[in-house]
């Protein structure tokens, strides 16, 4: 597996070395090594079952790797508790506290932090506002739409000021409009807070539209990690060619006839 990475001068935020993981005797991650830049938008692209969710859980500390290490700003966090990693995770099904309001969800964790407890409502409101959900602060989350719930879920993570946010298939349950809205909000967060974002998706188009770099995974290995354009120009192997480039081409072709009026 060749990994073509861009040489940059920005310091590595997250360094992942040789992560291996097996479940019931079957190895699902075969020694994953990559790094992420500070403030970068990295997309991990791959079909279901390729191990990307597992990788995400290892990064956040919900799973322990069998081998390998994870470093944040040079510090080894492989054994650190999930809450001590300065990372947040947004689950695919939002995992909101359905008995609380949006504000309640976002400010919940802050209650346990004595330095920020007193200001938690304000912090929470700000987080909601950055996702455009300030007006929904006092609504019970159970009555919100999928897209709104997703944004509350992101706000909940944001309120704790993480340095890295991990997102597991954030747009999979959303309709097309919500999807587009979410994309722009994620970009805003990246811009305004400098947060590093790693999001998992199986949607080639989304990965390529949003990310600064795309990591193409397949069957527990990285096939290519590069800027989107470089991947399209130089797919590393037939897997990348078939899974990624061919798919994008097909989408492009299907929209090609609208090219001129759209332009």
């Amino acid at each position: 597996m060749t990994i073509k990475s861009q040489e940059t001068t920005a310091p590595h935020k997250l360094t992942v070395k040789g992560i291996k993981k097996s479940f019931d005797g079957r190895e699902v991650l075969h020694g994953i090594t990559f790094d992420v830049q500070g403030g970068e938008f990295l997309s991990i692209l791959g079909p279901s079952g390729c191990g990307k969710s597992t990788l995400l859980r290892i990064l956040i500390g919900l799973e322990h790797p069998d081998a390998g290490s994870v470093l944040l700003d040079g510090e080894n966090i492989t054994e650190a508790a999930p809450s001590k990693r300065h990372m947040g995770i947004v689950f695919q099904d939002y995992a909101l506290f359905e008995n609380m309001t949006a504000l309640g969800n976002v400010e919940y964790a802050l209650r346990f932090d004595p330095t920020r407890r007193a200001r938690r409502s304000q912090i929470a409101l700000d987080a909601l506002a950055s996702l455009g959900m300030a007006d929904f602060a006092n609504k019970p989350v159970a009555g919100l739409s999928g897209g709104q719930m997703q944004r509350v879920s992101i706000a909940r993570t944001l309120a704790l000021s993480p340095e890295v946010i991990l997102l597991d298939e954030p747009t999979s349950g959303l309709d097309a409009d919500a999807r587009l809205a979410l994309r722009s909000q994620l970009k805003n967060i990246q811009r305004d807070h400098g947060t590093t974002m790693i999001f998992i998706t199986h949607d080639q188009e989304e990965a390529f539209a949003l990310a600064d770099r795309v990591m193409v995974m397949g069957e527990g290995s990285i096939h290519q990690l590069d800027e989107p354009l470089h991947i399209v120009e130089n797919p590393a192997d037939s897997y990348v060619r078939d899974f990624v480039v061919a798919n994008l081409k097909a989408k492009y072709d299907s929209l090609a006839r609208f090219a001129s009026p759209l332009e």
């Binding site: 809450s83 609380m100 309640g104 209650r111 346990f112 932090d113 004595p114």
Partner: protein, 343 residues
């Protein structure tokens, strides 16, 4: 961010403090409960398990409270079977200090748990009721009869039975009630009386035939009379004093005896092992086996228990011929016969 124990807060759900308060309260309750059960006895308290039914117990208790105002006496009704089962299982660690009016066969099965009553005078009792081992004193002699609901009989055109053989007639199908000898002393008394009168095989053959007409073998001795009062049964093999007390309350019952005689048994009282040393128990038992017997005998169950004393009660049959009850308190005999009982 660090984990901190947070202070009480307005939040959905239960706060940590509230949770522990609840748990603490529950624990305290159980602790109290545990104490409440165990700490119920003091040197002045006497717990009596009585197989007498409500009204007999109430009469005894009223008189007992007058006689011993300083003692904390608790009398508790318990069915015969349960009483014997508890004593058998708990033995000398039972909560009861005194057992009252437990049927002879059963009291023999638990006699190991009872004190030898050498401290008390047994000369006043009828000789045929005494326990050779002195583990219990007679409290009453309770006899049984064939009771009938005369209204039901006439409504359905059923003749009044005059003999055991009569009861085998199909006209009595589904209207006869009898206690189950396995769970009721009364039922066993009937069985044993016929075993003595006719021999074992004839008696069992009879009951096999009678079972055709019996609609239910009740688990308690009072079942048949209950059924008679409710009109469910027309003929009941039950206790005479039950039937008489119902007659005195206006039930259309009448009491009959067949030529084999009225089955009966001694119902005894005893002191649980290790309790006779307590003064309160000693005094109360002394009272029960003298005054208590006299009162009960004169008011409810006039079958002779005290030598030379034959009280009369309204509607209670006088000069009843008793059946031959030899061996009624023999436990091995009882187990053997009951093993053969198949209904």
């Amino acid at each position: 961010m660090a984990r901190r124990i947070h202070n009480d807060d307005a939040s959905p759900g239960i706060s940590r403090r509230g949770f522990f308060e609840l748990a603490g309260g529950a624990a305290a309750c159980i602790g109290l409960g545990a104490l409440a059960g165990a700490g119920g006895t003091s040197s002045n308290s006497v717990v009596i398990y009585s197989c007498c039914e409500g009204i007999r117990n109430e009469t005894q208790m009223t008189a007992l409270r007058q006689a011993f105002p300083n003692y904390d006496i608790r009398m508790h009704y318990i069915t015969t079977g349960n009483c014997a089962a508890r004593l058998r299982m708990e033995g000398a660690s039972s909560e009861a200090d005194i057992v009252l009016d437990l049927e002879g066969g059963y009291i023999n099965q638990v006699s190991d748990s009872l004190e030898v009553l050498s401290d008390f005078d047994e000369s006043m009792y009828c000789e045929d009721l005494l326990d050779p081992d002195d583990r219990y004193f007679p409290f009453s002699r309770e006899s049984a009869c064939i009771a009938t609901n005369d209204n039901i009989l006439s409504e359905r055109g059923i003749p009044t039975p005059t003999s055991y053989q009569d009861l085998l007639d199909p006209v009595y199908a589904g209207v006869v009630s009898m206690p189950n000898p396995k769970t009721s002393g009364t039922g066993y008394n009937f069985l044993k009386s016929l075993v003595n009168a006719w021999g074992e095989d004839a008696a069992f053959d009879y009951f096999d035939a009678l079972a055709e007409n019996v609609y239910q073998f009740t688990s308690s001795g009072s079942g048949p009379v209950n059924a008679l009062v409710q009109g469910e049964a027309a003929v009941g093999l039950g206790m005479t004093y039950h039937a008489v007390s119902e007659i005195n309350e206006g039930a259309p019952l009448s009491v009959h005896f067949f030529e084999e005689g009225s089955p009966w048994d001694v119902y005894g009282s005893g002191i649980i092992q290790g309790r006779a040393g307590r003064q309160a128990v000693h005094d109360v038992f002394g009272w029960l086996c003298t005054e208590g017997v006299r009162i009960d005998n004169a008011t409810y169950v006039p079958d002779q228990v005290l030598a030379g004393v034959s009280p009369e009660i309204p509607n209670y049959p006088k000069d009843v011929k008793y059946a031959d009850m030899t061996g009624i308190t023999d436990v091995d005999e009882k187990m053997r016969l009951l093993e053969r009982w198949s209904h």
